[in-house]
Assembly symmetry: C2
Homo-oligomer: 210 residues x 2
Amino acid sequence: MSPAGSSRWSPTTEQLMILEELYRSGIRTPSASQIQQITTHLSFYGRIEGKNVFYWFQNHKARDRQKLRRKLTKQLQLQQQQQQQQFQLHHHCQQLNQDHITNHFVGSFGYSTARSTTHDFSFFNSPSLIFQGGAANTPEQALSCKWNVQNPQSNLVENKEMAFCNYGWTLVDVDNQASSCCTTRPLKTLDLFPLTTTRINEDCTATPPK
Amino acid sequence: MSPAGSSRWSPTTEQLMILEELYRSGIRTPSASQIQQITTHLSFYGRIEGKNVFYWFQNHKARDRQKLRRKLTKQLQLQQQQQQQQFQLHHHCQQLNQDHITNHFVGSFGYSTARSTTHDFSFFNSPSLIFQGGAANTPEQALSCKWNVQNPQSNLVENKEMAFCNYGWTLVDVDNQASSCCTTRPLKTLDLFPLTTTRINEDCTATPPK
DNA sequence: GCAAATTAATGATTTATTCAAG
DNA sequence: CTTGAATAAATCATTAATTTGC
């Protein structure tokens, strides 16, 4: 091995052992003088140059980090898988992971007034009620509740919106809008985890959206 | 608890339990409609607004991540500490962690030629030999070995450098420069772990530089 | 036991970062 | 390259827990 004309250095066993011991001892980025000392010492065991030592520490450090990173991400994935498993046990919650799974919708809005009251309303608007998709990113969005009402016959889409002031949380004209576009019903609390017959089978195994 | 005029929402036990179950079930960033459903359901157990639900998920997700991160960094530190302990066992390596601990310096430079020979030299230049500090970041730096020689009498500082071509590793005029500024000595391999008498006591317990 | 004082949790807000569309 | 939406991170502020002296 390692013939005289070999293009690249390959450390002898002794050299490698010493390098590893130095690495274990805490040396990561040896200074020029340290490299010189190490090189001198290791040249006793075979041909070696300073750049070999330099590169060795550089590579060893990098690959150590890489190894560690991979280990940690693997652990993380494991933990998430465990969460997945818990998820299987709680599959009855899953319906809430998907929008538009039911045409029933009951909203409850609180708005700040001097007396801090709560206004509840509910409506049933199937099947033309189309919520604007995506996650809620601001409390305004969480409470503003914009939606469209599409008339199946006329194909007309009405834009509906409950307007809240920015960071003010003042509910504007809710009763009017709500009653004008929605078939109001007596207040009724929906089951938190409604199950539709078309989904009850697959829900137990489906993976949640990322 | 949680009086009517309270400035911020504090969840009831039931509300919290349900929120946590939903979280466990995989919900992280509920959409506006999901928030409405959840809010409606939870309002049965006490005053609550959509923004409370929104914030709850945001905070819970963030603090979950935070907890995980801290756990991982703690593990990492532990691993590094274990390396430290190994270091204690190998404290005889420690000298190499500190530059300028000894005024003896033995350099070994390899340079690539057609015949790939190795050129060794050593010098003793105390106490005016001043190495440029810091770690070596490039192989050039590792091998170029710039230094200053300060004459205590004249206070003149000579800049010395062993020039290597970029990535070419061709040693330029070493013998001349080296012999002109260094007291050459017969080649001698230093002990890898030289101990100076002024340090031999503290070395066993000193902590290595971070 | 209990109430003031301190600490830890956590709800709410703001700021920074990322990423994709134009 | 700029802009805007979405997300994550950092921070502020209040409440719940806890400690402490009596």
